[in-house]
Symmetry: C3
Subunit: 263 residues, 3 copies
Amino acid sequence: MAQDIHPTALVAPDAQLGARVTIGPYSVVHPGVVLGEGTFVGAHCELGLPLGGARPTGAPEGLLIGAGAVIRSGSALYDGSRFGPRFECGHKVTIREHTVAGENLRVGTLGDIQGDCQFGDFVRLHGNVQVGKGSRLASFVWIFPFVVLTNDPHPPSSHCLGVSIDTFAVVGAHSILLPGITLGAESVIAAGSVVSSCIASGQLAGGRPAKVLCPARIVRDKLNPARKAYPWQAVFSRGLPWEGQDYAAWRARHPDTGFPSIG
Amino acid sequence: MAQDIHPTALVAPDAQLGARVTIGPYSVVHPGVVLGEGTFVGAHCELGLPLGGARPTGAPEGLLIGAGAVIRSGSALYDGSRFGPRFECGHKVTIREHTVAGENLRVGTLGDIQGDCQFGDFVRLHGNVQVGKGSRLASFVWIFPFVVLTNDPHPPSSHCLGVSIDTFAVVGAHSILLPGITLGAESVIAAGSVVSSCIASGQLAGGRPAKVLCPARIVRDKLNPARKAYPWQAVFSRGLPWEGQDYAAWRARHPDTGFPSIG
Amino acid sequence: MAQDIHPTALVAPDAQLGARVTIGPYSVVHPGVVLGEGTFVGAHCELGLPLGGARPTGAPEGLLIGAGAVIRSGSALYDGSRFGPRFECGHKVTIREHTVAGENLRVGTLGDIQGDCQFGDFVRLHGNVQVGKGSRLASFVWIFPFVVLTNDPHPPSSHCLGVSIDTFAVVGAHSILLPGITLGAESVIAAGSVVSSCIASGQLAGGRPAKVLCPARIVRDKLNPARKAYPWQAVFSRGLPWEGQDYAAWRARHPDTGFPSIG
């Protein structure tokens, strides 16, 4: 049950560290941080950055990180957010305040989450994804590298129209999601798209602006054309709750997956 | 008037720190750095990196940062640049040498400014912007995420044709500005554009390659169609000199805003 | 022959540091790291991150870095990779395990190499390039900012079809290389392209999807139209083995440049 706090780590006396927490060298843990049991924090991280930055605005609201998290080196997480169990992030990630995530959110290296965002369970962001303020991603959404979720319809303005993405949707690399759009459940956006309008559930869309091309379910597996590629959850399970099981049977037992799981 | 230098910060004896400067844990301040009064430097920063890197080329030229700056954690600024008052940068920003900025430049998280660049006053770069060597941005320019300002017309070559952007211009997310192009004052580039030729003042352009679509002033506010969205400065003022005032009246008193303000 | 290890650097006792190695403040060097003579490591780096991350999988495989390397601040390199002499990387670079590089690989600031990648000699990646697992880049390849080398044909899936790029090829900024494609020797991809099929040697391709536009050798130098821009190696030599020599004569003495040089 021993913790492993590197002697150079600077941990505020009132931070709450669960059993078997590891904190790497030269990391900083501010007041108000709560790290669940077994959480690993790499080197050069900073957790619980005060709201208001250079001019802190008061007592910490708390940064709550559930059990079993892995926070890789160089990452900075602000005060005022909370993450369900088994949160994982890559290196050099930045997550601003008032972000709420369910179970097992994964944020890739260099991810930049700008605050006031909501994530369901098992959301996966690959490296170099920027999630603008006010975005809402339901459970099991995948976002690939260099995607940006914008929020300002005619920048600069005072409007903040976050993007909403429903369960099991997939957004290909280098796509731009324009302010306020919605992606339906199980929709798939091709790499390099500019999505300027809402995409219906189960559709594959692409282009600039993105147009619906076909139902995603007609895409075949490139290396095994007898198999469908989408909906992906029927053929891919690594690290997901139905790993080693039949997806349909698992889903039948979990009919309400999605935004409602956000705490 | 007390400074707040964290005991783990490594500050060169000949660095000059103004009153009320804060330096966070594990940051490094090299010789030749001058930090204006009230400047905040977060954790894990490095200021005044020697020119020549691994093989420093001699005595420092000086990194001059005006009063009231906010330099967030993980940022690295080279020797040989200077920034006007109230410079702000996000996390994990990199700024190479011989960059000159006016008042209140803001560089978002993961910004990468490659040196020999000029910025007027109140320029705003959102996160993940890469500004190539030799770029020139006049006052009040806005650049949105994942934009790249290139400079090599047929890479790799020895040419360096920086981009020039005039006052109040706006560049939407994920746009590519090709070498040597000029964006006119108050021009607006739609997200995801490839700008391969000069865009005249006040025009909205978009596409690949970007074409002029219409005068920007005919774009209406999405949430309030009775109001124009551009020129943006008539409807947006947060953090800008005309905040709380009528822009036109402010401008009448400041007719010479732009490149000339670069020191 | 003196080393210059900053007193705050944490160097594992069994790391092997060659003569004249420099390690900057607050950097961490794990067991199994071997740094060649004259290597420079900046501040806030972490070298030899254990495989398995939070749950290390056993004894280190070794991170071998050849002589004369320059590893700039904030970079993180995993155990289990090896780099030939004169490796250079920018700031805040991340390189995962089982990457093998020849001589003088250069990776720009914020580069993200995801592991199991092969690089020939003198490969150049500008800033903000993401190289997916399983990519293969032959000698003298250039990749410009915000390019992504993908590997999953219909994400998410279990397939990993890395991209292959042959000698002297050039990929312009913000391009997307789709899974499994091959770029021929001396091919040139225009900025902002989506490359979904193989591009033959010596061709200039661009667009979404990228189409062959013309042989690259008909592109003229923009500032000196009497001169061809490609093949670039005939007109550009900075930092390359034929610097100060005639390229054709140099090449005649080195006919086997390319993948075979990967050790």
